[in-house]
């Protein structure tokens, strides 16, 4: 602790140099945290877990919502399959089927079924009842509304569809926060798909163990039908459908590694400069009785402090940036919300600490090995 305070005083000795080093570390750790936030957000929507109980039924060999057309009358047949808890037919209309940073997605659902299918939806502005009453009404996800600056009572037009905002909703599912829910018949007519046709069915099953058997059962049921289906767990559906987006985000891992390497080099250089500029002073401390271990610890603490302080600025900035900016990536109507996570925050701080330590190992070793008498006579 006493050495830590001394190290803190030492890094204030060359304030500008320390500030510039910390600014560089902050920039690198901002980039690292941004990449990690994307990776973490992606993992959240693609990695299966025991809590997953949702299946997506899509038209076989179709990927974009614009080309997946299934008869709405499949609904009762799917509902009758053993293990199915809830089914909802969904019509989807998107402004862009490819990967995009600004995807607008309408989800047309039977008004009376939305709450039953998804009881976690909370209307935070406006009212659910107003949405039920008005055929052109939309319940807009919180992130969507924030991105577009929408509030209750507004009218907006997208994808050639005019809607009235009846309420703003919030959900635990990031997908819900990034779409506008409208009435199914309204969307079928407004998007010229026609009544009786939907893009997909979302199916909730009673247990995650039943995901695969029920998916097989659904596809088997409609195999010989005019519109055969392909049914996958929601996360697998996301992983397969949004391949481009996933590849793009996968590539960013290299940017994260580059940022880490840059931070490592920056801190190592700064600490090496500190050690070189303080040869005589280190010898004085050795003369006073500081051991090699204590000299090495003092130098390491300085590296760790530079890494940790700069890292904290970068990591916390990135966390707040993603918290306030509500970035989303969309592909084929699916939305990936880039949401900051406390796990990523802690990981960033830990990485910054370890980088500081790692970067100062060699300079600390050098400082502790210097010859006292030779250093004093410099």
């Amino acid at each position: 602790m006493k050495l830590l305070i001394l190290a803190l005083k030492n890094i204030t000795r060359h304030r500008l140099r320390s500030l510039l080093t910390m600014a560089g570390v902050a920039a690198g750790m901002f980039l690292f945290t941004a990449v990690e936030t994307m990776q973490h957000s992606l993992a959240k929507v693609t990695q299966a877990s025991a809590d997953d109980t949702t299946l997506i039924v899509y038209r076989e060999n179709r990927f974009c919502p614009a080309t997946s057309r299934l008869p709405e009358h499949y609904l009762p047949t799917i509902r009758r399959i053993k293990g199915v808890r809830e089914v909802i037919p969904i019509q989807i209309a998107v402004n862009n089927c490819g990967a995009s940073l600004d995807v607008i997605t309408f989800r047309g659902v039977p008004a009376e079924d939305l709450r039953k299918y998804n009881p976690d939806l909370v209307v935070i502005a406006g009212s659910y009842e107003n949405w039920i009453k008005r055929s052109d009404a939309a319940l807009v996800g919180e992130t969507f509304a924030q991105r577009r600056g929408l509030k209750t009572g507004d009218k907006f037009e997208a994808v050639g569809i005019n809607v009235h905002v009846a309420g703003i909703l919030k959900s635990k599912e990031s997908q819900d926060n990034n779409v506008a829910y409208v009435h199914l018949p309204f969307l079928q007519q407004a998007s010229n798909i026609g009544l009786g046709t939907v893009t997909q069915f979302n199916v909730k099953v009673t247990s995650s163990d039943l995901l695969d058997p029920i998916a097989k059962a659904i596809d088997e049921t409609f195999r010989s039908d005019s519109q055969p289906t392909v049914t996958r767990p929601e996360k697998a559906f996301f992983a397969e459908t949004a391949k481009q987006m996933i590849e793009l985000i996968g590539f960013t891992r290299w940017l994260g590694l580059g940022a880490v390497a840059a931070v490592l080099g920056l801190v190592a250089n700064a600490v090496l400069l500190i050690v070189r500029g303080r040869v005589k002073e280190t010898a004085i401390l050795q003369t006073l009785g500081f051991s090699r271990r204590q000299i090495a610890s003092l130098v390491s603490f300085e590296g760790i402090l530079l890494g940790l302080l700069g890292g904290a600025i970068g990591v916390i900035s990135a966390y707040l940036f993603f918290h306030w900016q509500s970035f989303t990536l969309g592909n084929e109507g699916l939305t990936l919300a880039i949401t900051p996570s406390p796990t990523v925050l802690l990981k960033g701080l830990l990485v910054a600490l370890l980088l500081g330590l790692l970067a100062s190992l060699y300079p600390a070793w050098r400082a502790s090995r210097q010859h006292v008498v030779q250093s004093l006579s410099q």
Partner: protein, 232 residues
């Protein structure tokens, strides 16, 4: 502290040449003695001082300080021994510029298992002894050369070592400040029982010591000289 040196030799390689700044040197200094080392440049004064201070190791010979066989201690043992038993005073003070006088004096105490209040008491006493209680929060740049050297002396004595080594402690000071520092060192020897070994080129400074030793080419030339005879 009682210093006993027998046949002490220090040599090292510099390029192809073997340099021997000290050769078969022997001497004894009783507890509380103030010893001055004089001699021309390259005579081995500072080498001897560094060996006694435990920041360098001899090539051969014995170096006993009290019951510590300093010549045979490992590097880590020497560091620990220095932190307990030695105070080093440099010609150019070598205070840490970002630390206040108080914090500079505190440095040796950071290595000891002392509470904050215990450290504070010791630092206050050391600064009081050197007459700088009112400058405790001043940084080195805010002090005169004489005051900086007093802070350096406070740093050297704050952990109550038995042995003080001083390398030209008045070499960078004006006459008045030098006299004041020498008086302080004399007091530390006479009143506080510190054994002091001081390297100096200045005969006036050496005159305050109990004994003056002259070195030439790594050997003592008048092992029994008294201050009066040596200075004259």
């Amino acid at each position: 502290m009682f210093i006993t040196i027998r046949n002490l030799t220090k040599s090292f390689k510099k390029g192809p040449n073997l340099i021997t700044p000290l050769q078969n040197l022997s001497l004894e200094a009783p507890r509380g003695e103030f010893l001055a080392l004089m001699g021309p440049s390259g005579s081995g004064k500072t080498t001897l001082l560094n060996l006694i201070a435990g920041i360098d190791s001899p090539t051969s010979g014995d170096l006993m300080i009290d019951d510590h066989d300093v010549a045979r201690l490992s590097r880590a043992q020497l560091a620990k021994w220095r932190s307990r038993h030695v105070g080093y005073i440099f010609q150019l003070y070598h205070l840490v510029p970002i630390l206040s006088a108080f914090e500079n004096v505190e440095l040796p105490l950071l290595l000891m298992p002392l509470s904050r209040s215990e450290r504070r008491a010791r630092i206050d006493a050391a600064l009081d002894l050197v007459g700088l209680s009112d400058r405790a929060q001043h940084r080195p740049t805010e002090l005169s050369g004489g005051q900086e050297q007093r802070v350096a002396i406070a740093r050297a004595i704050v952990h109550d070592p038995g042995l003080l080594v001083a390398d030209e402690p008045t070499g960078d000071l004006d006459g008045e400040s030098a006299r004041s520092i020498l008086a302080l060192l004399t007091s530390l020897s006479q009143d506080h029982g510190k054994t002091i070994v001081m390297v100096t080129h200045d005969p006036k400074a050496a005159a305050v010591a109990n004994r003056i030793l002259h070195l030439e080419k790594g050997q003592l030339v008048n092992p029994t000289a008294t201050p009066a005879s040596a200075v004259s």
